[in-house]
């Protein structure tokens, strides 16, 4: 018999520590993943979603485009519909703006205020944006509308994930 006989108490405490360690790891791992995940996602974020809008139908007048995709919320998958305001600017570049007001998130409309027919208008607190998405000084929003990265595939417009506009206007 060895001198290091493991007593019943010791045995129990060893095993419990072991199990506890496992459990802690089990809890920590997802947390660590949550912490790093956004970074990983940003890198992989090349998901472009097809819209029903044909490139050739895009004009200088902003038009509303709805596009639908699947979104996973915890265990719940649902179809989500997003909206973009799409037009061609003076240089013939396609611009796709997010309709989400940068103040508190209402949905903005193009020319929906009679007094400002050439601006985006937010009905909630009367926020306004010029055609290129720049917030009008003196109205509540403090940042320009987010911009969707765009792609063209088979003559259709594809949109990525809307991003805050980087270059300051």
């Amino acid at each position: 018999m060895s001198k290091h006989r493991v007593s019943r108490r010791q045995f129990l405490s060893y095993t419990l520590t072991g199990v506890g360690g496992f459990m802690a790891a089990g809890m920590l791992m997802p947390m660590v993943r949550f912490a790093i995940d956004p970074v990983l996602k940003a890198e992989a974020g090349g998901d472009f979603i097809a819209t029903p809008l044909k490139i050739k139908d895009i004009t200088a007048e902003p038009q509303r485009v709805d596009f639908t995709f699947e979104q996973k919320d915890a265990w719940y998958t649902s179809e989500v519909t997003n909206t973009a305001w799409v037009y061609k600017d003076e240089q013939d570049n396609i611009v796709a703006l997010s309709p989400v007001c940068k103040h508190l998130g209402c949905t903005v409309g193009w020319a929906s205020s009679e007094d400002h027919p050439d601006q985006f208008f937010c009905p909630c607190h009367f926020g306004r944006y010029t055609k290129d998405g720049t917030n009008v000084k003196g109205t509540p929003p403090l940042a320009p509308l987010d911009v969707y990265p765009i792609q063209e595939k088979d003559g259709l417009l594809y949109l990525g994930k809307a991003e805050p506009r980087t270059k300051e206007a």
Partner: protein, 154 residues
């Protein structure tokens, strides 16, 4: 804003901008009326969610006031009045009730908030995009109703 912690956090830091509370009213029944009950609730849920999306920054979508259809009218009403009182006390200037139960139309005047009644549309046979456009056309009319109310009390 929705009744989730993230939105409530935003709400707490921007209270002065969020002056409208929306309360869906659901009746629940079992037996023969169970399906009707569920389909109305589904309709109102979709509709209020869409509405919330349009007006995120100005309205709070409160969890629905749910009652048994077989309950006494007074009890249902008193329960809702208690909600109304609480919500008013918490600085919501405008309260909207949204329901597809026609009965509420008759007792509208007892409530301080505005009651919006919409006939429930059967959504079960529609695909996602048909559903969307249906809800959208309904909500469009609501939008003007809301903006009008906001203008009145400027």
């Amino acid at each position: 804003m929705k009744w989730v912690s993230k939105d409530i956090e935003t709400y707490l830091s921007a209270k002065e901008y969020v002056d409208t509370a929306v309360i869906p009213l659901y009746s629940v029944s079992f037996g023969n009326e169970m399906k009707q009950s569920a389909s109305s609730a589904e309709f109102i849920t979709l509709l209020t969610n869409y509405l919330e999306r349009q007006f995120t920054g100005r309205l709070m979508l409160v969890p629905p006031y749910t009652y048994l259809k077989s309950d006494q009218y007074e009890d249902i009403m008193n329960g809702l009045k208690k909600w109304e009182e609480k919500i008013e006390k918490n600085e919501f200037k405008h309260i909207f009730y949204i329901t597809s139960e026609i009965e509420w139309k008759n007792v509208e005047d007892e409530l301080k908030g505005s009651l919006i009644w919409l006939p429930s549309l059967p959504l079960e046979y529609l695909n996602e995009s048909q559903k969307m456009s249906m809800i959208e056309s309904q909500v469009k009319q609501l939008l003007t109703l809301f903006t009008q109310k906001w203008h009145e009390n400027l």
